[in-house]
Amino acid sequence: MMPKHLVLLSAFGIALSAFAADQPTVHVQPPHLQGPRELQDQTARAVVENYLDSWKSMSKALDQNRADLLDRDFVGSAREKLAATIKQQQAAAVRTSYQDRSHDVQILLYSPEGLSIQLADNVEYEVQLSAGGKSIGTQRVKARYIVVLTPSEVRWRVRIFQADAQ
């Protein structure tokens, strides 16, 4: 019986590894801009790339309960809220693992002064809750995120990160 458990765990482990290596599918819709400011393709590409990177940072930070991993991609209230969540997870001795499976992104607003870009993302992801090294459960989620990014020295960083009720 024991070897079969090991086979099961081993098979599960491989599945998880494959899972972790999976890249989400990404669909970027043409911008549906309100506002007078023209959005250059290069800016739009950078914003979407930086936003997708932020999911990786968030996933690592919440999985490892390390707020410092948020610094590259999050700023302002988005960073504060995620860092507070990490503190709450640490206090409860749990961690959450987010795996984004697909993104459907559309830029909605380039503010007239050029200091913020808002986008919507219909995202599908899985969140696994673990405590003491054991999984408590995984949920698959479809959500529409409203995200505001602002420019920093070298990249766009997420300032508002909020799932909208479906």
Binding site: G35, A120, I160
Partner: protein
Amino acid sequence: MRAELPSLLVSFALGITSVFAQSGELTMPKSIEAGAAFSIQSGGSGKGTLYIAGPGQFIKQDVQLGGEIAIAAGSLYNAGHYGVWLTSDSSTQIGSIDVVPAQKPSDITFIAKPSRLPVAMHNAITGSAYVFDAYGNLITRPMQVSFQLSNPGTSPQTRTVESRNGAAWTQMDSASREGKAQFVARVGDVSSTRIVGQVPGDPCTIKMSAKPAGNKIQLVTVPVRDCTGNAIPDGTIVTFTETYGDVKSTVDVPLKKGIASVEMPSHRGATISVASGVVLGNQIRWAQ
């Protein structure tokens, strides 16, 4: 066990939710307003642990199973989607809940640009605003946001804009008179004010006169104004150029009390011109 392995892998591939045995879905509201109290109806008996997890917040609570679990007002307040797990020794019940922003706006982030600009510019002042509730959640339902630009001595410009996904923006003209304008964004009884400095534009025209001053020519401009009559600030450079044959002499003079004045060598037949920036004034041919 052989039969269970493929079915477990298929279940996992389909994203079915837990590696623990699960005995059902929790009865709970699909969504609540940020900070509202709510309750979760649990099955089973004995003690359990409730987990509410989302990127915006995490809550863990020891609970008694088989009844109503009360979540107090102010406990779950960050807008977003949350997974809910209720575990006991023998089972895990799951659910989810959306937290929507509170209805009442409590804060507005307002960016006005530029902070200083010339007068009489069309659509040159922009304002953009994001509306938040008391918990710092972006209020994404449409709201009426009013923008008002008030200049001293003139009637204010007002625009009312419906926010989309929590954001609203507008464009305004700068006033014809210099001075500090108050730019206010308001939603409900929440407002935010920025000051926009409006300064004179480029000189509209420059007119100079010339008179002899010993063996020199004294050149003086009339007070220099922009096209809406505002005095050009002192310190603005006015350039006088005298051309005589192949010789060209140039003198830069700052405005003092609105005028520029200079003495240049007197040469019969010399041509003298005046300019400031891209604005060219009159030209004088010196005949004395």
